[in-house]
């Protein structure tokens, strides 16, 4: 019933810098199923964005070095693809939206020109002859601007990105990412730069459009609450590793990894006593040039104290504890 659309096997990414070998991802396994919104959460620097960029083959090499057993998208192994072949996948196969829409839109072209490029490419790849289809392209641009709830699409097409607010730009990005009907959309913190009321609008929009075009989404965010609202399944990352993965209800109601538990209790709760002290995670995220041997969370973990030696020597594997719930923890 659930068919995987993206399967990442043992993906590692190392950045060779003057400061040393910076291991951003460490043997990551991740599956996104068809028509599913997969949430990926973690703090800054844990490797969330690197994972998305590695899948899209957008990491500059060098300094990045990528090793993986395979990156399966549908039936094809993307890790074997050449740059030319990858170009065919981007946009129509896998698309991506970023946190700051102003930097990902070209300031020199109107919204209409940028959106029609995507649509033209889609038509081209599906074998349509573009030359005769300018009217069709235009009609589809208007159609998509309407779909992302932009008022007056005809005049909106003529405008440049700077004339728009952050929320409107992100709507255009979503239209561009979905216009070519990709199988998978990678959304890297798409609402983190927006206000809460705009964020609520964008989240609803993503949800309804994605189910309309039947795309899957890898939704990357540092905000657990946002992921709780949108994802079907959630993976939690820490220091370049996935430490827990489960359905969204499982993660929030029955978190098993101490890091997930700590992360959940570090945000102020609605029903908490006002001005009560929040639960904190002592210390800070390890430097990725020197990840401690054993479990990466061990120096900050409250359970590791009891089990001691094992946590500091053995790196835990991501194991399935109950149906669909995977945890990487020795305890």
């Amino acid at each position: 019933m659930t068919k995987p659309i993206l399967q990442v096997h043992e993906l590692s990414v190392v950045f060779e810098t003057f400061g040393g070998r910076y291991s951003a991802l460490n043997n990551v396994d991740l599956t996104v199923n068809e028509s599913e919104i997969m949430g990926l959460v973690g703090e800054s620097g844990c490797g969330k964005s690197t994972l998305a960029l590695a899948v899209m083959a957008l990491l500059p090499r060098p300094p990045a070095r990528i090793h993986s057993r395979s990156i399966m998208f549908r039936e094809n192994d993307l890790s074997l693809y050449t740059e030319k072949q990858m170009e065919q996948v981007r946009g129509t196969g896998i698309s991506m939206i970023f946190q700051e829409p102003l930097t990902s839109l070209n300031p020199l072209f109107t919204i209409g020109e940028q959106l029609s490029e995507t649509i033209r490419i889609k038509l081209q790849r599906s074998g349509d002859h573009v030359g005769r289809n300018e009217g069709k392209v235009r009609a589809e641009v208007v159609e998509w601007l309407k779909r992302v709830d932009l008022a007056d699409p005809e005049s909106a097409m003529q405008r440049y990105p700077h004339e728009w607010s952050g929320g409107m730009r992100q709507r255009v990005m979503i239209a561009m990412a979905l216009a070519a009907k990709p199988g998978l959309m990678l959304a890297d913190e798409p609402t983190s730069a927006l206000d809460v009321t705009t964020q609520a609008q964008i989240l609803r929009l993503v949800k309804s459009l994605v189910s309309e075009v039947r795309a899957s989404v890898l939704f990357i965010s540092h905000d657990l609450a946002v992921v709780a609202q949108i994802a079907d399944r959630v993976a939690v990352m820490y220091a370049g590793m996935i430490v827990e993965e489960a359905s969204v209800n499982e993660i929030f109601e029955n978190p098993l990894h101490p890091y997930t538990q700590a992360l959940l209790s570090s945000v102020p709760k609605e029903n908490a006593v006002k001005k009560s002290r929040l639960e904190i995670i002592p210390g800070s995220v390890p430097n990725l040039t020197h990840i401690p041997p054993g479990c990466p969370f061990q120096p900050r973990c409250k359970c590791a104290m009891e089990f001691g030696v094992r946590c500091s020597t053995t790196r835990p594997e991501l194991l399935e504890i109950s149906a669909g719930h995977k945890v990487a923890c020795n305890v």
């Binding site: 703090e43 609450a225 908490a272 006002k274």
Partner: protein, 330 residues
């Protein structure tokens, strides 16, 4: 004026000139002489030893309000009373005597600390205003360093050697140096990760208890403000639309904007989906704010009256006020 009021804002207004825009407006006239209504008539009291939270979306004037309170920028009109004394038009010299009581912590600890000063110098700088005794300063710096949870071995380091959370600790130590009566916290944890944010919030709570001072906690993050504050004010396009005790305001919002803002906060509970109420459209520009109630173009309950007459902030029940012609039922 009740003795419990530390700082009173009376009709504070701050307009900025919108300087000749690079582009011509649609009518072909160069846009000039227009003003940005950043803060437009704000009345607020900050009480002793308590926290006033100020929430609102970007561009609503929160930060301008903070800078006006510190008189870093002069208000266009309105008065500021500190401990009952009008400080709006004090001379620079007289103001310098008040300033140790008013401090601020900014959002971005990467740009608010001088990269060429050592941590101990950053913290010692404001102390120079209060005392010239080197030994006293040195001792106080060490004391502050310990209070904010930094190690003595880090005294001589430069800001770039610290993480974001540690830098925010330095900024806190510097703000505390002169034992202020009011600290304005302008998005103090917005640049930090969840686990670091919790550490800083706890530190701020500990310090407030110890120093018995007031906070004005400005943030777009309503959950954080709720946790930290006693009273809360909601800003929309330069105006306070609602003000009251925090729980009262969160549970029984009376202004439609407050209600919508609260309901659009994502809850960390996947079973509470679909409870979000959306606000239509976008926040209008503060250059030409809408007539009457500024929220009326987006408000589901707006009538003709709302577009014609501006509602004033009125007390509806015990110390809970809202500026709406048709306040929601409590």
């Amino acid at each position: 004026m009740s003795n419990n009021v530390l700082l009173r804002l009376d009709g504070i207004v701050k307009y900025f000139p919108a300087k000749g825009s690079m582009f011509y407006s649609e009518s072909g006239v160069l846009e000039s002489g227009s003003t940005i209504h950043a803060v437009d008539g704000v009345d607020l009291d900050i009480e002793r030893n308590s926290t006033l939270g100020v929430v609102g979306e970007s561009g609503c004037g929160k930060t301008t309000l903070a800078r006006t309170i510190l008189l870093l920028i002069k208000p266009t009109s309105g008065k500021l009373y500190f401990e009952g004394r009008d400080i709006t038009n004090l001379s620079y010299r007289d103001l310098a005597k008040i300033r140790p009581n008013l401090q601020i912590i900014f959002q971005d600890p990467f740009s608010s600390l001088d990269p060429r000063m050592r941590a101990k110098e950053i913290i010692a700088e404001p102390l120079g205003v209060v005392t010239k005794n080197r030994e006293t300063i040195k001792e106080r710096v060490r004391e502050l360093f310990e209070q904010v949870g930094l190690g003595m071995d880090q005294l001589n380091r430069f800001p770039n050697e610290f993480s974001g959370g540690q830098r925010q600790r330095i900024a806190i130590a510097r703000a505390l140096a002169t034992k202020p009566k009011l600290v304005i916290l302008d998005e103090p944890t917005s640049a930090l990760d969840a686990s670091t944010q919790a550490q800083i919030l706890n530190l701020l709570l500990d310090i407030q208890e110890q120093y018995k001072m007031s906070y004005m906690f400005i943030s777009h993050n309503v959950s954080v403000v709720r946790h930290m504050s006693d009273r809360m004010a909601v800003m929309y396009l330069g105006k306070i639309v609602e003000e009251g005790p925090v729980d009262e305001l969160m549970l029984r919002p009376r202004h439609p904007y407050t209600a919508a803002l609260i309901s659009s906060i994502p809850k960390p509970n996947p079973r509470a989906r679909g409870e979000m109420v959306e606000i239509r459209g976008e926040t209008p520009s503060p250059v030409n704010p809408p007539s009457g109630c500024r929220y009326h173009p987006r408000c589901p309950f707006a009538t003709k009256l709302c577009s014609e007459r501006e509602p004033q902030l009125q007390e509806l029940e015990d110390r809970h006020s809202t500026a709406c012609h048709y306040p929601l039922k409590s």
